[in-house]
Amino acid sequence: MYAFNIERPSTIAGAVDALAKDEAQALGGGQTLIPTLKQRLASPDTLVSLTGIPEMQGICTADDGALCIGGATSHAAVAAGASAYPALAALAGGVGDPAVRNRGTIGGSLANNDPSACYPSAVLASDATIVTNAREIAADDFFDGLFATALDEGEIITEVRFPVPEAANYQKFLQPASRFALVGVFVAKYADGVRVAVTGASEDGVFRWSDAEAALSGNFSASALAELSVPADGMIADLHGSAEYRAHLVKVMTGRAVSAA
């Protein structure tokens, strides 16, 4: 990597100030950024670490029952602490390997919006709210294609609020090498309907499978999907699977998530 400076603010305000400088870059758990730096594919002047800010750490329940997770909370902490939302805890416990889970953060994952990351599917399926230093963003407005989000320059995810569903499950089909999601489907059933979010599959990043949502809202059973199919158009095709294969897996994984929820 190239040489860089690092700042470790202890408050959100301090982090915002530090990120306002030219060529400053936020650093969450570093599970994507550090390898990128090692390959010399990025050369920020200053890294602003967000992991030393107490107000961005931890898990709590809001008055309305939503599960609130600090933006710098590690996957391991979510896996261990999100017992109020077991499907989310299970998702966090299945990200990467223990080293990744102990360093990687929910805010970092969402800000990066890797098209094969797990968390975006949970956020979108849960209709979660992304809280930043400046505003609150609804999940449906947050994800904006591959590696792109609604975040402005220097904006920090301080918290994510998940309404807790009646039933939910995440099914991940592993890409054999990276073990990211080749296709991952998060299904969440709320009183007002079912939401289905898919990661890993689409060239546009995480998306909601609305046909499945409609079918499952009427009949929350894998059999409700029988007549549905996912078009292969717009699905990712690469070494690890064709567009048709990914489209097929979306349906299979959705059915399994419903059965397991």
Binding site: P176, L239, G241, H248
Partner: protein, 788 residues
């Protein structure tokens, strides 16, 4: 009752103490006073004409010591090839130059163009980025058949084509094989690929070069499986340094799997540059660099035809293979698809007529050379796959078909030029049926079906030729080296022994198992035996570790040297006890005079050898040190039978290995636990090839699988607990230990078992059109096959 020491005991590996506690000493742990660091600027295009390399801006940067380009190596030798193949027409292979740094052209992504020597790794990398390379990118040739057919794109302009050689074996059988196939009752044909693999040892390659201006001595520390071979090749053919002025040290090495046999440009560069800049020069590969600079393995495209009579007897076998050499000839590359592949095509079967054709091809890809098994996995895979297909086509049980054709009498001379000394293929198959409970398969299949899973069973045999090899024979076959091994046994005055062996250990456990042999022969505790390897200044000569040859060849040399030690020690003991040499017996570390109660201890004799106050000085010299060179009379032929049961998820195509069993015949065994470990590791790599690993270049020669994000390595949870047995033992008849070698068996024997099992699962589920799937059997490929 298991033994607690000596030959046959599962002694814990002494080297693991340092490996598991972080106190190993690897090449990257070597840091010499004043050392500089090198970074190689590597080609980003697969094929290009080098118009110019402007280093002026880079040279002005902080910390730069000196920058080297191909021009610095003009007039200096290129990397040599250690094996010359003669083609079917009697012509020698086409052998291109392989410069240390690119000259005129680059031929694969990763080909080194320039090398920056600097005060730190970062400064070297910074300066490398400032080098301006003027390169005219040329169309690349990646596909082997296109490389042969399309003469417009030539990897090497000075060669007549991209064909390295067109080899026929046995050429005299060609017409008879064609005729037999034409007239046969049944012919099964299979076209398949044995995909390219990246070796991926845990430790990437490292080299540290050192030069003493005072003495003119060079030292190279390197991650090698055979430091003496590097000393010979680099000294004699590249840099012109006589062996007595060049020391090569390979300390602890973190895995090789073949990829650290070969002499690499970076080794020559660091040695050369150390003199040029008068400082030690160190290079440590990154993992990314390993993907584009370590020799890769396999990469065969094959068509095989098996002719059978109406009862299923094999009549003839013909196989045509395109073998990828990559852009240059790596050290032993030409031997892999020929002598390590063609000679194994008889397998465990008495097929009377065999013809093997191999076209070795240059492409704009990383060079390919030996990788665990080297040629033998490619032979075994195609043979055992085509037998399975034939069994299905003819409606014969695949195990019964194999049994019907087993070689049963030994020695057996195959139609492909080798003679199996011993074996018992029926015994290993019967053992496999027992340990794998093959009778219980249907019950397990029903249980899998209950879960909605498709269960399949795959069985295959394998044979390999190890202990390479008689030097006079390999010389006739084109080897430019002998393939003996040496050992010096030095006994100290106080009775301890130091064994200096040419076999290098980089995971095989030699330090433990070799000591067990000596301990057994003399009757002293294994802790009294030290095994020294990996340093040309300590070990007299060594051809190194590969081809599962260490115990069979290196161990035999050690036995021969120890026999000389014992013979001399008996003379000393005879003198001490005033008896005749011929009456002296050695047991449990005590010399006795037969039929008497006289005895002297091992330590009394060794002390007398070095303090010769009461000593037969008129007959023998003081001291107790002997050297032996052992050149084997034949290859050894380990063999076995493997089975795999898989569950295929019909919805996703994902294959899970439900069970895996291996019944091997390795002859005599020194340390059963180490053998288990070697087999486990080999099966792990074989399952990795069968299900996960693949090296993919795009049409421009860019490596698409250049990191673990896309190159799928097997992990613990991809593998079941293996059932491994090596109680079937037909000892080798021509080496003193009766051993055969076990290092590669797992990697050779396991891929066909997996693929046979997956095809079986799909066939049983009604996918009768699926007769083959090319490896790796990834979920997407299996799903595509089910939906084709």
């Amino acid at each position: 009752m298991p033994k607690d020491g000596g030959i046959g005991a599962s002694t814990k590996r002494r080297e693991d103490v340092r490996f598991l506690t972080g106190s190993g000493h690897y090449t990257d742990d070597i840091n010499l006073h004043g050392q500089a660091y090198v970074h190689f600027l590597r080609s980003e295009v697969a094929h290009g004409e080098l118009k110019g390399v402007d280093t002026s801006a880079a040279e002005a940067m902080d910390g730069v010591v000196r920058i080297f380009t191909g021009a610095d190596f003009e007039g200096i030798g290129g990397l040599p090839c250690g094996w010359q193949i003669t083609d079917r027409f009697g012509e020698v292979m086409q052998e291109p130059a392989h410069p240390v740094l690119a000259q005129g052209k680059v031929r694969h992504v990763g080909d080194p163009i320039a090398a920056v020597v600097a005060e730190s790794p970062e400064a070297a990398r910074d300066a490398a980025e400032a080098i301006v390379v003027d390169i005219k990118e040329l169309p690349a040739v990646i596909d082997m058949k296109e490389a042969v057919a399309n003469s417009d794109i030539k990897v090497h302009d000075d060669l007549t084509s991209n064909l390295c050689y067109d080899w026929g074996f046995v050429e005299e059988n060609r017409d008879a094989v064609d005729e037999a196939i034409k007239n046969a009752h049944h012919v099964t044909t299979l076209e398949l690929k044995n995909q390219r693999l990246v070796a991926n040892p845990m430790e990437p390659r490292v080299a540290v070069g050192e030069y003493s201006a005072g003495t003119g001595d060079y030292t190279l520390y390197t991650t090698s499986q055979n430091p003496h071979v590097i000393r010979l090749l680099m000294g004699a053919f590249v840099l012109g340094i006589p062996e007595h002025k060049l020391r090569v040290v390979a300390p602890d090495v973190g895995g090789g799997f073949g990829s650290k046999i070969f002499h690499y440009a970076e080794e020559a560069f660091c040695t050369f540059a150390a003199k040029a800049v008068r400082r030690p020069v160190k290079w440590t590969a990154s993992r990314s660099e390993a993907f584009i600079s370590d020799a890769q393995g396999r990469d065969h495209v094959t068509k095989i035809e098996l002719a059978l009579d109406k009862d299923g007897h094999f009549l003839a076998l013909r196989t045509d293979t395109y073998a990828n050499m990559g852009a240059y000839l790596s050290t032993f590359a030409p031997s892999v698809p020929t002598w390590l592949h063609g000679t194994l095509m008889a397998g465990n079967y008495k097929t009377p007529l065999i013809y093997v054709n191999v076209k070795a091809v240059f492409t704009n890809t990383v060079p390919v050379d030996a990788y665990r098994g080297a040629g033998r996995p490619e032979a075994t895979f195609q043979l055992e796959r085509v037998i399975d297909k034939a069994a299905r086509e003819m409606g014969i049980d695949p195990i019964a078909l194999r049994r019907k054709n087993f070689v049963t009498e030994f020695p057996y001379a195959t139609p492909v030029a080798v003679e199996y000394d011993t074996g018992d293929y029926e015994a290993t198959m019967a053992k496999l049926e027992e340990i794998a409970d093959l009778k219980g398969f249907e019950k397990r299949r029903a249980a899998s079906a209950e879960k909605g899973m498709l269960r399949g069973l795959g069985v295959n045999c394998y044979i390999e030729a190890c202990g390479i090899a008689p030097s006079n024979l390999v010389g006739q076959l084109g080897a430019r080296a002998g393939l003996y091994e040496s050992a010096t046994v030095r006994v100290n005055a106080t009775g301890g022994l130091v064994v200096m062996t040419g076999s290098h250990s980089h995971g095989q456990g030699h330090e433990t198992s070799f000591a067990q042999v000596i301990s057994d022969m003399i009757g002293v505790d294994a802790d009294m035996v030290e095994i020294v390897h990996g340093d040309t200044s300590k070990v007299p000569m060594g051809m190194g570790t590969y081809g599962s040859r260490s115990i069979a060849v290196g161990g035999s040399a050690m036995v021969r040297a120890t026999e000389k030690i014992i013979a001399k020690a008996k003379k000393i003991a005879a003198h001490l006890m005033e008896a005749s040499d011929s009456d002296i017996e050695l047991k449990d570390g005590q010399f006795t005079v037969a039929g008497t109660d006289k005895s002297v201890a091992w330590g009394d004799v060794t002390l007398a050898a070095y303090v010769p106050h009461n000593y037969p000085l008129e007959d023998i010299e003081p001291g107790l040190e002997e050297t032996a060179f052992y050149d084997p009379a034949n290859f050894t032929y380990p063999a076995g039978a493997y089975s795999c049961e898989v569950e295929v998820d019909p919805d996703t195509g994902k294959v899970t290995i439900a069970s895996f069993a291996a019944a091997d015949d390795f002859g005599n065994i020194v340390n059963p636990m180490i053998v288990d470990g070697q087999v486990h590791g080999g099966i792990g790599q074989g399952i990795g090839q069968a299900l996960l690993e693949n090296t993919v270049y795009d049409e421009n020669g860019q490596l698409l699988t250049g990191s673990y994000m896309d190159y799928a390595m097997p992990r613990a949870d991809d593998l079941p607990s293996f059932s491994v047995d090596h109680s079937c033992q037909t000892p080798c008849t021509h080496n003193p230990l009766g051993v055969k070698g076990c290092g590669e068996a797992g990697a050779i024997g396991s891929p066909p078992a997996v693929v046979n099992a997956v095809v079986d699962a799909l066939q049983r589920a009604g996918h009768t059109n699926v007769t083959h799937i090319d490896m790796p059997l990834s979920p997407s490929r299996v799903w595509a096959a089910m939906n084709s």
